[in-house]
C-alpha cells in the first residue's frame, strides 16, 4: 500500500530529516511510527501525501510513485489519503457537519451522497450528537474525533495520523486510538500513526517502527514503544540492517 525505497530528505536549511529509509506498509496494516520529537517521523508521513518531496529515493502509494506525481495531480492523490493532525485543522467558522461537507464538496460528491457519508463517518467516531457544534465549542478529544471523521468521510484506503493524541489526556488518547483501531478492523483502512505516546503504543501492541535521527532503527510486529527485547543500542541497529 505504502512503500519507501531508499528515501532521504534534507531540508533547505541543511538538516537531514531522513536517511536511506526503506519501509513497506501493507494493505490493511496498522502501524505506529515512534520516536522522539525531531526524529523524522512526521517528515516520513508527509512524504506520502506530497506535503514534502524526498531529496532522494521513491515513495509509492498503491502503484503510484508520488515523487513523480504532477503538481496538478496532487489533489487527487490527497483524496486517497485521510490525514489527522495534532492541531485538528478544523475550519473554526464551520460546524462539525459543515467541516465534513466541505471535504465532500471539494471532491465533487453528489449532494444526496454527502448526507449519507457524513452520518456514517460521524457515527463511527461517536460524534453525531455534536454535528451542529463549532470546533471552539468542543473539547480536544471531540475536536480530534471530528477531525478523524473528516479524514474518513471520503472513504480513503489510507489514514495517516500525525501525533493525533499529542494534545490530549491519557484517557481521551486511548479513546482516539480505539476509534483508529476500529476503523482499521471495520473498514480495512491502512492506518499509520506517528506518536510519542508510549502508553498508547504499549497497550495497543501493534506493529511499531522506531525512527531515530532520520533512520529506522526498529520494525517490530506487536511491538512496544521501547525495545524491551534488545535494550543495548547495538542490537537495535542490527535489526535495521536486517530490514
Amino acid at each position: 500500500m505504502i512503500e519507501y525505497c531508499d528515501v532521504s530528505l534534507v531540508y533547505p536549511n541543511g538538516v537531514q530529516a531522513l536517511s536511506d529509509v526503506n519501509l513497506r506498509v501493507g494493505k490493511g496494516d496498522f502501524l505506529f511510527v515512534v520516536g522522539a520529537s525531531g526524529s523524522g517521523k512526521s517528515s516520513l508521513l508527509k512524504l506520502t501525501y506530497r506535503e514534502l518531496l524526498p531529496t532522494k529515493g521513491r515513495v509509492f502509494v498503491g502503484q503510484e510513485d508520488v515523487t513523480k506525481t504532477a503538481r496538478s495531480a496532487v489533489p487527487y492523490l490527497r483524496r486517497k489519503i485521510g490525514v489527522v493532525y495534532q492541531d485538528f485543522k478544523l475550519l473554526p467558522q464551520k460546524t462539525v457537519w459543515e467541516n465534513l461537507a466541505f471535504v465532500l464538496r471539494v471532491t465533487s460528491v453528489p449532494r444526496k451522497e454527502i448526507r449519507k457519508r457524513i452520518c456514517e463517518a460521524l457515527e463511527l467516531v461517536g460524534m453525531m450528537h455534536r454535528c451542529d457544534s463549532f470546533p471552539t465549542e468542543l473539547s480536544g478529544g471531540e475536536q480530534q474525533r471530528a477531525s478523524i471523521a473528516r479524514a474518513l468521510v471520503n472513504n480513503p484506503p489510507i489514514l495517516i495520523a500525525d501525533e493525533p493524541t499529542g494534545n490530549l489526556d491519557p484517557d481521551t488518547s486511548w479513546g482516539i486510538m480505539q476509534i483508529l483501531s476500529r476503523i482499521n478492523t471495520a473498514r480495512g483502512t491502512t492506518v499509520v500513526v506517528a506518536t510519542h505516546d508510549n502508553q498508547v503504543v504499549d497497550r495497543m501492541m501493534r506493529r511499531v517502527v522506531a525512527v531515530e535521527g532520520g533512520k529506522i532503527i526498529r520494525d517490530q510486529d506487536r511491538g512496544t514503544y521501547h525495545d524491551e527485547a534488545s535494550e543495548p543500542e547495538s542490537l537495535c541497529k542490527s535489526e535495521l540492517t536486517e530490514y
Binding site: 506535503e51 489533489p75 475550519l91 471539494v106 471532491t107
Partner: protein, 272 residues
C-alpha cells in the same frame, strides 16, 4: 477584512478616476483650441467676385477642407471702419480698399497647416494666414498634455493595481488556513481559486462603484463652483464622457483589477 479592502479600492479608484477625467478634460480642451484655428485666405487687390468664387470652389474641392466662407467685402469694410473710427479718420477713402477674403476650416484640426500649404499653391491667391506660430505652440501643448496624461495614467493604473492587489492579499491572507486545509483535503487549485477571484471581482467592482459616487458628488460641488465663479473658461473643460459610460468603465476596471489582484495574491498560497 473585505470592508477594509473595499475602502482601499474605493479611494484608489477615486484618485485614478479623477485623474483620468482631468486628463481627458484637458486633452479635449486642447483639441478644441486647435479646432478654433481657421485659415484666412486673401485674394489680390483688384480680384473680382468671379475670381473669388473660383478660388472658393478650388478650396472646397480639397479633401481636407470642411467649410469655406467667402467674406463680404462691404461687411468687412464696415466692420473695419467701425473698429478704427475713433482712432483714424477714414473719411478720405471713398472706395472699399479691401481685397476678397475667405475663411477656411480644416476637416482635421491637426492638419490645418497641411491644408494651408495646399491652398497656398492655388493660383490667384495673394496670401494665406494659418497662424502657424500660435497654432504650432497650441499643438505642442495639446500633444504634451496627451502624452504626459497617457503616461501618468498608465503609471497611476499600475500603482492602483498594486495597492488593490495588496489590499486583496490581506483578504486572502486572512483565509490562508482555510486555503491550506482545502489543499490538504484534495481541493484542486481552481476549486480554491474561483471563489477568491469572484470575491476579488466583487471587492473591486464595489470599491469602484463607491469611487464613482465619490467623484460624482465631489465634482458636482467643486467643478460647478469653479466653472461658475472662479474661471468661466473652465466651462470648456469637460471629459466628454457620459456618467453612465464613466460608471461602467470605472466599475469594470475595478472588477478587472480585483480579479487580477486576487489571482496574483492566491498564487503564492497555492504552491503545493
Amino acid at each position: 477584512m473585505a470592508l477594509a479592502s473595499i475602502s482601499t479600492v474605493a479611494l484608489s479608484m477615486a484618485i485614478l478616476g479623477t485623474f483620468i477625467l482631468m486628463v481627458l478634460g484637458s486633452h479635449r480642451f486642447a483639441e478644441r483650441q486647435l479646432e478654433r484655428f481657421e485659415i484666412a485666405v486673401y485674394l489680390p487687390v483688384g480680384a473680382d467676385l468671379a475670381d473669388a468664387n473660383r478660388v472658393r470652389d478650388e478650396i472646397k474641392s480639397l479633401p481636407l477642407t470642411s467649410k469655406v466662407d467667402l467674406l463680404s467685402r462691404d461687411a468687412e469694410w464696415n466692420k473695419l471702419k467701425l473698429k478704427l473710427n475713433t482712432n483714424i479718420d477714414l473719411g478720405g477713402i471713398a472706395n472699399n480698399p479691401l481685397p476678397y477674403a475667405l475663411n477656411v476650416e480644416s476637416r482635421d484640426s491637426r492638419r490645418t497647416s497641411e491644408l494651408a500649404d495646399k491652398i497656398g499653391k492655388i493660383k490667384g491667391i495673394d496670401a494665406v494666414n494659418d497662424y502657424k506660430k500660435i497654432y504650432g505652440s497650441v499643438k505642442t501643448i495639446a500633444d504634451l498634455v496627451r502624452i504626459l496624461g497617457f503616461a501618468a495614467s498608465i503609471i497611476l493604473c499600475l500603482t492602483t493595481t498594486f495597492i488593490i492587489s495588496n489590499a486583496i492579499r490581506l483578504t486572502v491572507f486572512a483565509r490562508r488556513h482555510e486555503i491550506r486545509i482545502m489543499q490538504l483535503v484534495g481541493a484542486t487549485n481552481w476549486f480554491i481559486r474561483i471563489p477568491l477571484v469572484i470575491e476579488g471581482i466583487v471587492i473591486g467592482a464595489a470599491g469602484a462603484f463607491i469611487a464613482y459616487g465619490l467623484i460624482s458628488v465631489s465634482s458636482h460641488y467643486t467643478v460647478g463652483v469653479l466653472q461658475r465663479q472662479v474661471m468661466p473658461i473652465l466651462r470648456d473643460i469637460s471629459s466628454g464622457v457620459s456618467p453612465t459610460q464613466f460608471m461602467t468603465t470605472l466599475t469594470c476596471t475595478g472588477a478587472a483589477i480585483g480579479a487580477l489582484g486576487s489571482y496574483i495574491s492566491i498564487r503564492r498560497f497555492l504552491k503545493v
